[in-house]
Amino acid sequence: MLGRAANGVYWMTRYLERAENTGRLIDVGFHLALTRGSRERQDEEWRSVLITTGHEQGYLAAHPDISGAQVFNYLLRERENPGSVLSMLESARTNARVVRTSLTNEVWQAINETWMILRDMLSRPVREGNLGEVLSTIRQRASLVRGAMEGSMLRNEVFNFARIGTFIERADNTARILDVKYYVLLPSVAWVGSSLDNVQWDTLLRSVAGNRAFSWLNAGTMDPREIARFLILDGRFPRSLVFCFDKIRSNMAGLAKQYGGETQAHQQLRDAGSRLHDCTIEQIFESGLHEFLRDFIRRTHNIGEAISSDYRFIG
């Protein structure tokens, strides 16, 4: 497989995953805006969406103030914003075109159609009235592409690079969402058990589509420590850090098997993985949740870089 093609497949799935996650974050911001009364609080939530997606500065450079419709339009369709859903889907599709021969027809058509549908939907500013439809289309299309990959691709190196891209991105996204909101999970004398806490926790779980699953597992009770354990260490939840790392590991093992050997990236992955697996949620809180997450994000980034150089993504 060409190094350039591996690079294309890897970034194609990263962009798709990030576009989907951006859609989820907008959904949460919108949901809160509907449920929280004061304008200041609404703006605060939208600001936190901007911070989580890493777009606060870019947004404020283009717009003087924060308002819901302006924020979600910026995140959905602003062409100048390379991190808007539209820009990212375009990047995903451009990468797909570049690696067209590594993809099955079904995967290519799913991605091409996704881009065509959302390009049309996002050709005009999105109003609150049709935001729900846009966000649900993003989720549905993401599922369709995933399904096409799952159902039609050979389980070879191409698939491995695609999956590694997905899970590196997802691990990074979950960690960032947690990091922006980590303080709501810390023990606090003043707010424990208040309804505001419950809303904050619920929001956090919603951002990673984990609210229902968490309720199932915990019989409806909310507990910040359990939430953190769930999002970081629960290997059953497909957006937890441990789950993402397990997937990265199995796909990296696939590469090692096909290529008959491991690389630097495998070693880095092992180090980071054992750090994650060997710790308990108590230890994480003791040594600092924020520090733990920063370290995790940095390590994940480095693993991505190592993969890119070990497998000659760029000449």
Partner: protein
Amino acid sequence: MSSASGSRYDEMLDEDGTIRAAYADFRDWYDGQDISWLKRQDAEAERFFRRIGITFNVYGEDAGEERLIPFDMIPRIITAREWRKLTRGIEQRVRAINAFLQDLYHRQEIVKAGRLPVHFLRDNEAFLTQMIGFTPPGGVYTHIVGIDLVRTGPDEFMVLEDNARTPSGVSYMLENRETMMAMFPELFTKIPVRPVSDYPRRLRRSLQASAPACAGSRPSVAVLTPGIYNSAYFEHAYLADQMGAELVEGSDLRVSNGRVQMRTTEGFQPVDVIYRRVDDNYLDPLSFQPDSVLGVAGIMDVYRAGGVTIANAPGTGIADDKAIYSFMPDIVEFYTGEKPILQNVPTWRCSEPDSLKYVLDNLSELVVKEVHGSGGYGMLIGPTSSKKEIAAFAAKLRARPANYIAQPTLSLSTVPIFTKSGLAPRHVDLRPFVLVSPNGIDITPGGLTRVALKKGSLVVNSSQGGGTKDSWVLDE
């Protein structure tokens, strides 16, 4: 109707309006269909093409702009008898082209025999001195050829142009058929149409058979593309995918250890055969255009040392040059010892004073083309041009006569297209695709029919608003 030479030939209807035998079964079927259903299918076809991404980029427009070549769903039908004659003519012509190239880059017997003035080579950018004295692996110069044919009567097929560099359009031939089979499967159970779908396999076999001696028993093949902004990128990706070959860009390749190697996730691996869709000029910055980033530095040295096959060979453009075209009847005769089976369109070389005078005097009836142009750009179609346009063109012609050739305005045959108000005749041409390998010449039954969608128009180029049709060759 812009016709200089009498009445046009319609491939479906004869002079009395009776349906010709080739179209009889099709018309039976067509007349039994509900028109509103056909209209729906017509609209569906466009969505289908968009979804699978069969698009081309138009130069000069936004980099991201992708257009569809319009597809017309009425097939162009060729009988078995017509096709037999065509294939004999095409084979003869392609054999002659390869012999001509071999001769030009070696002894130049044709020049010595006084059949081709030497200045046609000397002043021609398409003639590559880097190829002199070198024979490509297997002696094949043009692995892939597209011969553009026009028809003016029942038995009159003429060659309008030979495409011996990197002919494009074969992906449309394949996808048009796929689309027709998906939209109207029952047609193919009623009418015996010869299949085209094994073209990619044949292409791969043909390329592998042309591999250099250093290749192993399963030679590796790669398609070299300029990248996603090239107008034919879809086709490059499509062919690589269908052949199971790597799709590479210049930046994926480098020369080391006397081979061309591609950068894979496991390190560098040699490529045996490169089906390049990059022009000669950009192929090797060391040998040709120094600032090219589309090619591979040093590939020409590897090529000349027998370390790689380049398809088509560099320097084949000299054979499809429009000035050389006018010599093709002589060329065919010189190398095959036979009379040409397919005729040329009469051509005036404006470099010759007598011809120039004739052309200037008769501009309003002629088609004038740039010698090195393609894609329908920079040409004059006399009968459909205004006096002002003709005067402006005459000035250009006088300034650089050697840059132009002229031909009579041909009355191209017509084939019906599907319009809102039913079937309507439009002018067409045909580009059959030919594969050449040391094992022989292989012609896919059919090809790409291009159709001028505007009533009366003779320009079929997709860059000028032309469309395409599925082309059927009927089985015996």
